[in-house]
């Protein structure tokens, strides 16, 4: 169905979301290219998760469009978008708490098997993913007995089972220790190298600067800066947003 050369790129154009009188997102434009990790940072309440909700179709924007592979998805529901190759993790974990790690990933693999024409055996695919995210030791444990860091990996594994082209990660490293974060960075780079377009929302600035090709900074619902990690670190507007200095 899909060959290696038509990998998706995600594009968000002019998205605005209002909650009553509050403007949560104001004319936000963002692009994620295949093979790249695109960072999205910003203080709490900046609108990062809201943007993910708009991209995945859980929330309808008041204005703006979302496209993947040049296909307008703005009117599509979350299920259709997922089947076009979009996957996400949740900041407030949305794991299937009654199931084990293996079963959580298996649900996702079975869903893909149900609608795609893949010949893969879902059970085998799940075992590969378990090894890849390094949760072999706890594969049979129920997820609500796991620490947060591992839960985030389960959510990632669940996404991978859908074989996404665009992967949205909402604070995947929070709750992980330094070793885990380092391993996670390696995994992220691998995923991008395979051609996936990864969008990373993260508070761990070191991780963001380490793995991202491009970084977008969101503040009060507006994109205030876009650039390479180096450029972002020196951007006065970004410093003002984060440190509260009165730079112009």
């Amino acid at each position: 169905m899909t060959s290696a050369d038509d990998k998706a790129s995600l594009s968000v154009q002019g998205v605005t979301v209002r909650f009553g009188g509050n403007i949560a997102l104001d004319d936000v434009t963002l692009a994620a290219n295949p093979g790249c990790v695109t960072g999205l940072i910003g203080p709490n309440g900046a609108g990062k998760t809201t943007l993910f909700n708009v991209i995945t179709g859980l929330l309808a924007p008041n204005a703006g469009i979302v496209t993947m592979n040049d296909r307008d998805m703005t009117k599509l529901g979350p299920t259709r978008r997922a089947r076009l190759g979009l996957a996400r993790t949740f900041q407030r974990l949305e794991l299937f708490s009654l199931l084990s790690v293996r079963e959580n990933i298996r649900v996702a693999a079975d869903i893909r098997k149900g609608w795609s024409r893949d010949k893969d055996n879902p059970a085998e695919a799940v075992e590969k993913i378990i090894d890849r995210i390094g949760l072999r030791d706890v594969a049979d444990a129920r997820v609500d007995s796991l620490p947060t860091g591992q839960c985030r990996l389960v959510e990632l594994g669940r996404c991978l089972a859908t074989k996404p082209q665009v992967l949205l990660l909402d604070e995947p490293a929070s709750g992980q220790d330094e070793t885990e974060t380092a391993q996670f960075a390696v995994l992220l780079r691998e995923l991008a190298a395979e051609g996936m377009a990864v969008v990373l929302v993260e508070h761990d600035v070191r991780l963001v600067m380490d793995v991202c090709h491009t970084v977008n900074v969101l503040d009060f619902g507006r994109i205030i800066a876009v650039g390479t990690p180096e450029q972002i670190q020196q951007d006065p507007a970004v410093l003002a947003a984060y440190l509260g200095s009165t730079a112009p």
Partner: protein, 723 residues
């Protein structure tokens, strides 16, 4: 024109009553998040109480009204809030629903206990003796005028309280964010109590105003509430002005149907069912809700059933049925034979409610459809009719669920309850319906239909004993099917969907399709149960498949444990074996035995894992002690032989049947305390002292340190060595 005005007034009077009841419902739902199914029942109790004061004890009308509306009503509301509802904060929709449904059942039973049904209790409207007021073109009775006036007063009063009074503003704040309201100095408990006091008082007012029309009958008065639900759904259960608008629409439609619907036997039922039909239409046009993530974390835990356990369960059920079938007399077999077909209907709830978290309050209606199919297509004992019963019930289930599925939760409960009402009050009572002269649709033929026993290989299974065994074997097979689903792909998917619809959708799952398939599956199973139930009853009537029975079965299955097949057996045994047995042993209990199902639901509905879970835990040591288990089986078999050879009678046999497992469990516990621990295995950590108390309540161990590390995500033990 006169006729039009007359029925406009009839409609507006109904509208006024629905508005009063529905506003009370909205008030309690918005402030406490509990949709009170017993709201109508509170109105019913109030109407009965008023009747008692006014007409039995001869109190003056104003005194009776003041005592019911301003003293008893509010007090009852406060009682409900403090004793029952407050404990439900943070529980799942299913648990809240079970508690309020059980309350409804309890209140109906209570009313029937105090005011024995079947006696005429005339309740005239207000100022019924006075001449109607002349409006020129038409007249309006004093009762009608008072009703409409009271509704307008209630509307203005509520508006003033909610926008002007301090407590009203606190009420609206509590809707938005309860904990934030507390931080801002309001007292949410006081607010809830007031909301329940006002809500119950409004229900009482509505009950007293409506009762003169349909008459004082506990169940039907309580279920008139469906009309009020429909009005509340207009306002998405939140907006009072839209609720009033909805009440007007429903009241007028009902009024005009009364006036203009052709008077024939097909359509009279439609008028009574019209609020339920309107509820369905409103559900169809309500906008899609936003998919949200998990709101409350459920505390429920249903372990994956093991294959051995499943087979053991199935065999035990069949052996039990064979023992009953060979020892009970025919009348007893007919009484207790209902356990297994109803058990199959209860099983239909397990995948739907237990796995998928969807709610259906009309499983007995699906069973009724299966029964009708069996009666007509199974004439002469054709077993293929069972297949048709499953397929047709499943198809109807899918059609019914479709409008409410995208809304789920409380709306699904309301939609399915409305469907049950449409069947109860209209469709099941239709006479033979001829479709364009091509063929006849015959449901209950306006009364009852006889059902033939199943015939297979030229042998008719018409004796109650064989029928019980057939039903039990079918029950066991369906239980195995449900367990197989739970262990497989569909079961995982349903549990996943229950936990997080948002996650499932973003993984590419078609939620509507998944819900629809489980709904159809569940309705199909219920249809099968209904078909077998029909062959056992030999003659069926609409009364066998009423909403109240669905509610009871739903509540008691949750009490038993909705996530496991054992819960279904528990429900069927409690309702159709234990209760009749109790009445046999203790005939005077027949008066209050009806209170038990509701009471059990109120008390036990809060244990999210159900009673069966605890029973299973209790038997674990026995299952681990193989020798004791074998001895027990031999003892049971021995008792069975003694019974068959008439050495002992049925009572002694039953006593032994209960005694042996109890003795065996105690023996297993005594002989092998180790076995308990081994069986508990995985639970050890949970049963231990909570982590934060370790080192205080018991010594701190290395294992605790490791566990703490695991929870905190710290991997290296060196960390501790450094320190």
């Amino acid at each position: 024109m006169d006729k039009f005005l007359t029925f406009t007034i009839v409609g507006l009077t109904l509208a006024a009553i629905y508005a009063i009841i529905a506003s009370g419902l909205v008030l309690t739902y918005t402030t406490t998040g509990i949709f009170n199914f017993a709201h109508g029942a509170a109105g019913m109790l109030a109407a009965f109480t008023y009747w008692q004061f006014r007409f039995v004890w001869g109190w003056p009308t104003p005194l009776a009204l003041v005592v019911v509306l301003l003293v008893l009503g509010p007090l009852f509301g406060v009682l409900l809030e403090t004793v029952i509802m407050r404990g439900l904060e943070g529980t799942t929709d299913t648990v809240k629903l079970v508690v309020s449904i059980s309350l409804l059942l309890f209140m109906i039973a209570l009313a029937q206990l105090i005011w024995a049904p079947g006696i005429s209790r005339p309740l005239p409207g207000f100022l019924a003796g006075n001449k109607p007021i002349n409006l020129g073109a038409t007249t309006i009775t004093w009762h009608q005028a008072i009703t409409i006036g009271v509704a307008i007063a209630v509307a203005i009063g509520l508006r003033l309280v909610l926008t002007r009074a301090r407590i009203g503003i606190a009420m609206r704040a509590a809707v938005d964010d309860r904990s934030l309201t507390t931080l801002n100095g309001a007292k949410p408990n006081l607010v809830s109590m007031l909301a329940w006091a006002m809500g119950t008082s409004l229900a009482a007012l509505g009950g007293i105003l409506i009762a003169p029309g349909p008459g004082l009958e506990a169940a039907s008065l309580s279920l008139l509430i469906v009309s009020a639900y429909a009005a509340a759904v207009f306002g998405r259960l939140r907006s009072l002005p839209l609720t009033f608008l909805g009440a007007i629409v429903i009241g007028l439609v009902e009024g005009y149907l009364a006036g203009y619907l052709p008077q024939n036997q097909y359509l009279t039922g439609m008028r009574i069912a019209s609020p339920a039909i309107i509820l369905f239409i409103v559900l169809l046009v309500l906008p899609n809700p936003r998919l949200r993530g998990r709101m409350t974390r459920s505390r429920e835990y249903f372990p994956t059933p093991t294959l051995a356990g499943a087979i053991g369960f199935a065999i035990t059920v069949v052996i039990g049925a064979v023992m009953l079938a060979t020892t009970l007399s025919d009348p007893d077999l007919i009484t207790y034979g209902r356990v297994f077909p109803i058990g199959i209907v209860a099983l239909s709830l397990v995948p739907l409610v237990g796995f998928a978290g969807q709610i259906s309050l009309c499983q007995l209606s699906f069973a009724g459809i299966g029964a009708i199919v069996m009666a007509h297509l199974g004439a002469g004992g054709d077993p293929i009719a069972l297949v048709w019963a499953v397929l047709i019930a499943a198809a109807v289930g899918a059609v019914v669920a479709l409008p409410a599925l995208r809304l789920s939760g409380i709306y699904l409960a309301l939609g399915t309850a409305a469907f049950a009402v449409i069947l109860d009050r209209w469709l099941f009572n239709l006479p033979v319906l001829s479709v364009f002269g091509l063929f006849d649709i015959n449901l209950f033929a306006n009364g009852s239909v006889s059902v033939d026993a199943i015939e297979l290989f030229g042998r008719s299974f018409d004796d109650p004993g064989t029928q019980m065994i057939i039903s039990a074997v079918t029950f066991a097979l369906v239980a195995l099917l449900v367990i197989w689903i739970r262990r497989g792909r569909l079961g995982r998917r349903l549990l996943a969907m229950k936990d997080s619809e948002a996650a499932c959708a973003t993984l590419g799952l078609n939620l509507i399709w998944t819900k629809l398939s489980v709904f159809a599956l569940s309705a199909g199973i219920a249809g099968l149960g209904g078909a077998l139930y029909a062959t056992q009853l030999t003659s069926i009537q609409p009364g066998n498949f009423e909403l109240v029975q669905s509610l009871q079965l739903f509540a008691i299955t949750v009490v038993g444990g909705i996530g496991a097949v054992g819960g279904a057996l528990f429900a069927a045994l409690s309702l159709y074996a234990f209760l009749p047995l109790l009445v046999t042993l203790w005939p005077s209990s027949v008066r209050w035995v009806g209170l038990l199902p509701g009471g059990a639901g109120i008390g036990l509905g809060r244990n999210p894992n159900g009673a069966v879970h605890d029973v299973r835990e209790g038997f674990l040591p026995l299952l681990a002690a193989r020798a004791v288990l074998a001895a027990m089986c031999v003892a049971v078999a021995g008792a069975y032989v003694l019974r068959l050879t008439n050495v002992i009678d049925n009572w002694a046999f039953v006593v032994l049947l209960i005694l042996f497992p109890v003795i065996a469990t105690i023996a297993a516990g005594l002989s092998k305390p180790r076995a308990v621990e081994a069986a508990a295995g995985n639970d050890e950590e949970i049963r231990d002292v909570p982590l934060e108390w370790r080192g205080i309540d018991r010594p701190w161990t290395k294992a605790d340190l490791e566990q703490l590390d695991r929870y905190l995500g710290l991997k290296e033990m060196e960390l501790h060595d450094v320190r």
